[in-house]
Symmetry: C2
Subunit: 708 residues, 2 copies
Amino acid sequence: MKKILFALFMLIQMNHANEGMWLIEQLPALNLPQAGLEISVEDIYNRDTPCLLDAIVNLGGATAEFVSSEGLLLTNHHVAYGGVQRASVQGVDYLTGGFLALSKTEELPAPGSYARVILEIRDVTAEILESVGNVKDLVERNRLIKYTIKILEDTIEAEDVDIEVKIASMYNGEQYILYKYKRFDDLRVVYMPPLSIGNYGADQDNWMWPRHTGDFAFLRVYMTPTGKGGEYSPDNIPYKPEKWLKIASTELRDGDFTFIIGYPGRTNRNRTSAAIKYHLNEIYPRNIVRYENTIRILDETTTRYPEATIKVSGMRKGRANYHKKTLGIISGMEAADFLAGQIALERELQEFILSKRKLRKKYAHLFTDIQEQFEYISQTLDHDKTLALFDYDAGIIPAAAKKILYTVLEREKPEADRDPGFSETEIERTSSRIKYRYLSFFEPADKELLKHALMVALSLDSTQRIAGLEFIRNQNSDQYIEELYGRTKMKDPDFVSNMFFLSSEELEALNDPIIQLFQKLYQEDENRREREERFKAELGELRRKYMTVLSAYKGFNVYPNANGTVRLTYGPVAGYSPRDAVYYKPFTKLSGVIAKDTGKPPFDMPVELRKLGEKKIYGQWFNPEMNDVPVAFTHQCDITNGNSGSPVLNAKGELLGIAFDGNYEALLSDWQYNPDIQRAISVDIRYVMFVTEQYAGAEYLLEEMGIK
Amino acid sequence: MKKILFALFMLIQMNHANEGMWLIEQLPALNLPQAGLEISVEDIYNRDTPCLLDAIVNLGGATAEFVSSEGLLLTNHHVAYGGVQRASVQGVDYLTGGFLALSKTEELPAPGSYARVILEIRDVTAEILESVGNVKDLVERNRLIKYTIKILEDTIEAEDVDIEVKIASMYNGEQYILYKYKRFDDLRVVYMPPLSIGNYGADQDNWMWPRHTGDFAFLRVYMTPTGKGGEYSPDNIPYKPEKWLKIASTELRDGDFTFIIGYPGRTNRNRTSAAIKYHLNEIYPRNIVRYENTIRILDETTTRYPEATIKVSGMRKGRANYHKKTLGIISGMEAADFLAGQIALERELQEFILSKRKLRKKYAHLFTDIQEQFEYISQTLDHDKTLALFDYDAGIIPAAAKKILYTVLEREKPEADRDPGFSETEIERTSSRIKYRYLSFFEPADKELLKHALMVALSLDSTQRIAGLEFIRNQNSDQYIEELYGRTKMKDPDFVSNMFFLSSEELEALNDPIIQLFQKLYQEDENRREREERFKAELGELRRKYMTVLSAYKGFNVYPNANGTVRLTYGPVAGYSPRDAVYYKPFTKLSGVIAKDTGKPPFDMPVELRKLGEKKIYGQWFNPEMNDVPVAFTHQCDITNGNSGSPVLNAKGELLGIAFDGNYEALLSDWQYNPDIQRAISVDIRYVMFVTEQYAGAEYLLEEMGIK
């Protein structure tokens, strides 16, 4: 780490202002007080006393924050969505009209939702890299690292039932950081606004600014009477967080300092032209086709079976979100001439390498080596991506069957060959959570998705074919799928949950036709996994080299790419100019919600909310300068997926709003930061409070949060 | 007029700031100096010495302005378009790549284009209304007025060959103003930028802001050696206008005073709810269908016969323009809840009427009377609008045949029954201009348009049928149309031109099948004309009453609706906010043209123009504050179709730009002025000069305009 810390102090000024998803340990180096922070960095994070970080929660990959001493959580409507969707599949639709608990006893369990609170952050680079020794083979080296990580994780997780540990690789394996969490599986819905507030504008406004979505929801975290996290139980009591956020007491204005702490999922900053080409030509086009097919199949299903709408809505929403995002990234790349820019940079870098004897020796072939890796993995891409279809997009039962078969066979391998990332704790977690997956199971959709995946396999070019599926060519596929679903016992989630612990012989003896289907694919899928493992290992090493060259040439952004670990980003409230003669102001208003209202989805605001605006019944949430209630705002924070639900904080560390989106013009931001147009989009806490108090009438929640 | 002038001083302050398309005679009452005008009102218009009005030209219904002492005219590209299109149909395409004359001898005749310069403006209300005497019947009264007008016009036109006179009714016949023009039919193209500048963005950007269209062209007006207007002759010499405009010498900025003088075509301000409903439910939907069908037929034709593209492009462009405009008006009405607002106003007015004894006696039934008129005309609307299809949208030969038959039969009627608006001068004008119409004639398009119109007629509901067309029901329509076009002699424009002067017997003796077709429709069309005449007369009277009531209740905007006569409008340069959190700045820039460039139509700017921008070769047209060349701007002037090509002038009366459009958000402006969002869109004179000098290299034109 010493080298990296040195780089940090040297190069931080080369970053764009406000660029960066910073590790919590990096905060002291950021000059946050100079940027506008009025509290101390220790108030945000320290090891010994309650700090802001204790109020930030990882909510199943996204983010949430405590806002009361009784475990009340604020997050996005779209983050709470999955739990409420799964709560609604039994008959009562809590999505369309929303849900409000008038007291704690009325709160609604949110099946499958879980929260993680950080207990400890620790650099474990030395321990991890020690295990590698002198091993040169990159695949072998990666396996050793994975194995060491798993042992360390398992050891600490054994301390208590609710401990979860994740060790994350930073800078392509230059650094390893351990995150120890306390995990809670009993989350309940307190207030979920109706779709017509929480998802106002839906797909049409998704990723767009100006925005008028009240994308928030209140949940509550419960623990056992003895203070452990765990599954739902009526005996559980509200969790008492070490720290919770105060609602901002001063008005937010254009230019004000803000910061965000949250869990950004994945970025591709500082990638090479080969990676860009690979995504533009191979990955994105395939993903777009996949998203479109899945959406189409789900839409056809709900047209025939309207009763399935809620069940498949989570999957549909996810695919639609990434579909629009991918199109945005592609147009962002085209608009910025991104590939050409990277190619030009690499030409400069190559000249630089060749001009220095030391560099020339080590890196002369760097770019062709990278190129070769992408060529290698691209050769089988149609084949491999079709196999990957069955992981998520070919129906819930097929995905479960594939996972079970893999688990059972992996467990019986000799230890040396076994996937080192494969622990018993994790198998148990997967098995126990399968029931939540099944809440979204709808047989006709499942069949159509599987049928589509099989058809894709059959349509592959002869060089890409999946041998294990060729037998279907001579069958009536409809009949075949009817038979699979007619004979399988895998429609029962409890039965499926137990299948994870069978031996391979027991599994075979079940004679389940869907398991049998995946037995035919198993070997080809193993080959795919090996190819991907090698690709990843080789590419990781090449990326480290690339960063060394880039750093030597011009310095580089010193924060690691997002990887689902907690990060801080900061920047002022700011509008932007998306194109010539157009300026987007940083705040939207309640009158703007009304102006978009057509009375029809996705712009069908509740009549009662409209009346409040028309009659100017604003409560204390009226802003005199705007002459209205603020709804959402844009600011120069550097976020991505996973930051959804993150708290937006002011200079005093008070809650200003909840981050929920980035703007369409800057979807390229996962690859490259652009300070002129990249903005975080957050719902304003004043709108959250206005809706909660004036529209929903949940004044008791405002009291719980210490307001009035 | 006394009453109106009184009303003017009383009510002018009730108008919105910058609302109004003012008559030239009204200027002294407008407090223009207070608004920012630095020259005197007499500099704009006076009867005795050269004034700005002498530099403003009516260009075939649109507007243009003199910019040199040698008759050099500036107007819009889309105004010059028709003439250049007709010049291009013989083989050389002057549209796509543009046209530049390097000297006067190279200038390109623009067939069918003509210009009118005002010689005199005179109030003739007394003379016109004298003729009415005590006649009570409204149809009879209107006929008398029309007759008196025509006699007065003809008398003055007889003074010289190039005199044209138009007497226009203002305020539904409260006032009549005579406009005496000198007319020029020899116009030549000096510089027409390529489509990729002059029509940059095409239909997609039409009516839109921010805009990057270089919508300008240079023409020149020619006269005979003895100083008369007339048709093209190689002996003609450039016209020497009394006055020409100077290019603005100071930089235009946000907030600066501007004014426009031009020829707005038609507005519907201060109309009743019955009129709004009639347009929303009857007129607009029918027009949209008509535009779409015509566009579709023309597109199908050019797909089959690409060589017809230029010939039909004028018609297509016109229909596409009104199609988008109509959709914009409808959404403007919906967004503003326009109908509901008018209904609410009328409810107030009705209460007001009933509360005053004097008003009650005269106006108690006003709104039901108006409603009845619209119901009356709506009864036969499918029938009547289908007959009207043959006037413009059923092909060029059918339109000519219909016009000829009507002319011939009208001329032979006893004087008392004859259409009083039907003068020999006008017949001669129509006859001599038919050749320009025929430059757009393309037989396959003509046949398809006629066939479509016949099919529309056959599809009418039984109550709306056109009896004269029922015979086609038993024919093979393709065969019938082939026969019509096979046998007709009307493909020869000279022959057609002479047909206007035949007697009905001679016409009959031609035995032309297309004339015979319209003979079958003649009587039904006569009935339609009578219905429309009555509707117009009754409605005119009711509108006068409505304006009296409205004026008594709350004052009204005192300028008459636009009617193709010259008007002045003024207001500052201003951006606007089209929706919550969005602000449109008032200037676009050359870098914005480049940002829109995709290399493909409609955004395919010329490579050489792009290079100028990229290399920052701006000449003197660079604006340091914008750090760029300004391209277009928005200002609060109140304009509509017909204002196209109008000069935008600064406080000193210098030329700032050329008006060419209104913004989409304010297309409702033809019905109602909205100062918050209605803006005129003008091409900035600095972009005109930059393109002319730096891109086209026509420095001699800048010298002719007195620049450098």
